[in-house]
């Protein structure tokens, strides 16, 4: 028994999808599959001491739930979990950290949570900060850290306190290449000490190089377990032969077959626009929605799709209101285009207010008289499923949001098209600076909206800009890499800067991809809209300011050897 580090016996875990269900109407009916998802299904597993186990699988396959069950964060509904040894979980970027505290204070807190005494942790603080390469930033509050810096801090803390078992859930995905290599070496060192590692990743090379065994998960079950090369080959084969459809959850599959039957005729190929924050998804949404066959619906950061025949009704209503000079509510507009704005790459940078229930209340109130009850029911089922998949499956939430959403949407709309926008991080930084110019203060930390930095305090800001730029570069790289992996005719990536440099040509390409006609009015309208928005800063900043901003950004980007051309 001593040679066993982790023992899972017939472990199952269900998730209740009904957010409205509360303590007051708690039901004992655990068999109601429509409100529950089986995240882990009868998992039995023995991991020996000193083993390194890689866990792979598509998003939603149960990898994170498995790690949370092992770590004791979740209690299994059925079965038992036995862990022998001191365990350090790295399950989510930034967790166990407090935004308002600096690195040192957070390390102490993190260490205490991992079961160490304050004195034990204090002795290790300098080693942890050194390993994380955060010496210059150890007095900076966590809220000023990028996702990569947080990840480094968390990983470094866990490694340096030397646990017997390390659980790592894709936390290194956001680190830079240098730190990834360093982490990899730390893993190897850990292995040499006969420690146990269980980690999830999408990095196949890492799996092959590091793992003793690999677990392939699908729909909460272990599909295959064995030698890395065997499991990876099997995994690749599944992807290559388009067997991803078999990865759909049973509930989603039934929705496809039955519940969407009425709507499929009208929702042929919805277009989903995705992109990192401030990459231009909203603008592209608006532009696309100028198309005569499209209308747009905007509810805060959410854009929803609706069948074409319904769109026409809204379009007519929209035009009628416009003719009558009526004030058009913010919720009017294009409904075919589904903008997946705000990828939430950094914890806390973009809080998309997604609340399925409250949205539906408002949605139904607004369109009460316009949608037939059957259609309303069908739409609700489809959209609720999307929202459910992206919002309520909390075990998916750590993954890059767009990735999760794309998989979820693909299951409901197999023919959906995705336009992926990547943007040069230099532009993002510039627009951040522009955004706050009017306030008279340079507020690089625009998303957190609390930290106001003085523009004159340039030394500190240079470092911040560099790290934010690095963060955006990582996100952009990830976005591009992800779109390459899709390798599908239904997936298109555009670099926003290229797009605006020759908008007419690129618009045609874009609309060809969407199989839409380009109306004359639209091609004229777009450059003007883009010009209005992207060049606005020129009127707001003095020449000196512009040069200063670009000097700072250019300098930091040059140091990063950024691969894209501005």
């Amino acid at each position: 028994m001593n040679s066993i580090a982790i023992h899972l016996s017939n472990v199952s875990k269900k998730f209740d999808l009904n957010n409205n269900k509360n303590i007051l109407n708690k039901s004992n009916d655990t068999t109601n599959s429509s409100n529950e998802i089986l995240a882990l299904d009868n998992i039995s597993l023995i991991i020996k001491k000193g083993e390194t186990i890689g866990v792979i699988g598509l998003n939603g396959s149960g990898k994170t739930t498995l790690l949370r069950i092992i770590s004791g964060v979740y209690q299994p509904d059925y079965g038992s979990v036995q862990v022998n040894g001191h365990l350090a979980p790295l399950l989510q970027i930034g967790t166990g950290f407090k935004e308002e505290l600096n690195a040192e204070e957070n390390i102490i807190m993190h260490g205490l949570l991992l079961g160490f005494t304050k004195n034990e942790i204090k002795k290790k603080i300098s080693d942890i900060i050194k390993f994380a390469e955060l010496e210059k930033f150890c007095q900076l509050k966590l809220k000023d850290y990028s996702a990569g810096m947080r990840s480094r801090l968390a990983f470094s803390t866990a490694i340096q306190i030397n646990p017997d078992i390390l659980l790592v859930d894709e936390i290194l995905a956001v680190g830079d290449a240098v730190f990834k290599e360093k982490s990899f070496n730390a893993f190897l060192e850990f292995k040499k000490q006969n420690k146990t590692i269980v980690y999830t990743t999408h990095n196949i090379n890492m799996i092959l190089d590091l793992s003793d065994r690999v677990i392939l998960m699908d729909q909460g079950r272990i599909l295959k377990i064995g030698k890395p090369s065997d499991v990876i080959s099997y995994y690749k084969e599944i992807i290559k032969t388009h067997r991803t459809k078999s990865f759909k959850h049973n509930n989603v599959r039934s929705i496809n077959k039955e519940e969407t039957s009425n709507s499929e005729k009208s929702i042929v190929k919805p277009i989903f626009i995705i992109g990192v924050p401030r990459s231009g998804t909203t603008m592209l949404n608006i532009i696309m929605c100028m198309h005569q066959d499209l209308a747009w619906f905007s509810h805060e950061d959410l854009k929803f799709l609706i069948p074409l025949d319904e769109q026409k009704k809204f379009r007519e209503k929209f035009l009628r209101m416009k003719e009558n000079n009526e004030k058009i509510p913010r919720t009017e507009g294009s409904l075919f285009v589904f903008g997946l704005d705000q990828a939430r790459p950094l914890e806390g940078t973009s809080k998309v207010p997604i609340e399925a229930e409250s949205f539906w209340r408002r949605y139904i109130e607004f369109y009460e008289s316009e949608i037939s009850s059957n259609k309303k029911r069908d739409l609700k089922k489809i959209l609720d499923k999307i929202l459910t998949t992206q919002d309520k499956l909390r075990f998916l939430n750590k993954a890059p949001q767009n990735t999760v959403r794309i998989f979820a949407i693909k299951q409901v709309f197999p023919d959906a098209k995705f336009i992926n926008i990547a943007r040069d991080p230099r532009s993002v930084i510039s627009s951040m600076l522009t955004r706050t110019k009017n306030e008279g203060q340079f507020n690089i930390d625009w998303a957190i909206q609390e930290k106001k930095l003085n523009f004159q305090n340039s030394k500190k800001n240079n470092e911040l800009i560099k790290y934010y730029a690095q963060g955006y570069k990582d996100i952009t790289d990830y976005t591009l890499e992800f779109s390459k992996q899709q390798n599908s005719e239904n997936f298109m990536t555009i670099i926003y800067e290229d797009f605006i440099s020759n908008p007419e040509k690129n618009l045609k390409k874009l609309l060809d991809f969407c199989e839409l006609q380009v109306p004359e009015s639209l091609s004229q309208m777009m450059p003007r809209k883009i010009r209005d928005t992207t060049e606005k800063w020129k009127n707001e900043l003095t020449e000196d300011d512009q040069q200063k901003i670009f000097g700072i950004v250019q300098d930091s980007i040059d140091k990063m050897k950024y691969p894209f051309k501005l």
Binding site: D16, S71, V73, Y74, P89, Q92, L101, R394
Partner: protein, 259 residues
Amino acid sequence: MIKFPLIELLDKRSLIIHFSWMNIKLRFKGSYLGLIWAGLEPLLMFLILFVVFSSIREIPQENFGIYLITGVLFYHLFSRGTSTGLVSLKVNSSILKSFKIKKELFPVIATATTCILLFVELGVLFGLMPIFEFTPGWNIVFLPVLLILFLLLVLGINYILSVLYVYVKDVQPFWTIFVYALLFVSPIFWYTSEVEGILLNIQKINPFGQLVEMAHKIIVFNENPTITEWFSTTIIVFGILFIGFIMFKKLEGKIVERL
């Protein structure tokens, strides 16, 4: 079987103390006066009530200032302590989602934070005594026992509120109103000898009001509360603590998934 984790709490004292200090630090971080606010808040509240009630009515008994500040301090601590306790699981959701940690620690940490504030506020009380030319009697030796009862009451309520809030969001606005009502139905600016009818009936079943009344006896009137008062209040406080803890343990199973 549910066990009260006294030994486990002692084991985790380092974590509890660190988190409590951090709560204090974060709460006042960024303000110019910092920890001074911990004492200044109830002091200002006391001044307002003192000016208002001294103006609108004849002060019924001497030492009204000390009587009022005692009530205000207990009320302020109760209000702060339970509101911190109410959100204690919610605000630490990221920790609960990432570490295997006893969930019952968080209401305890909220109560420990109240305990730290209590020392600051006691400083305000004893600081005001010379100003009102007041000298406490020997019965003040019973004050620590009373404060322990008070903190246990806050802990019991924190167990209930924190876990309920995860499941039912309405708890927060309800509790805000409830605590507001406590200001008026507890003997903070009025004397039990002054009131009758509904206020007196509420006071009889109000454990917070009972504790405030006992504090008044110990601090202001140099009286030892009767055995019946000590006994009944202790029973009620431990009853609430017991019910709160059992309720917490019964409902904690799915907390992480719901946060």
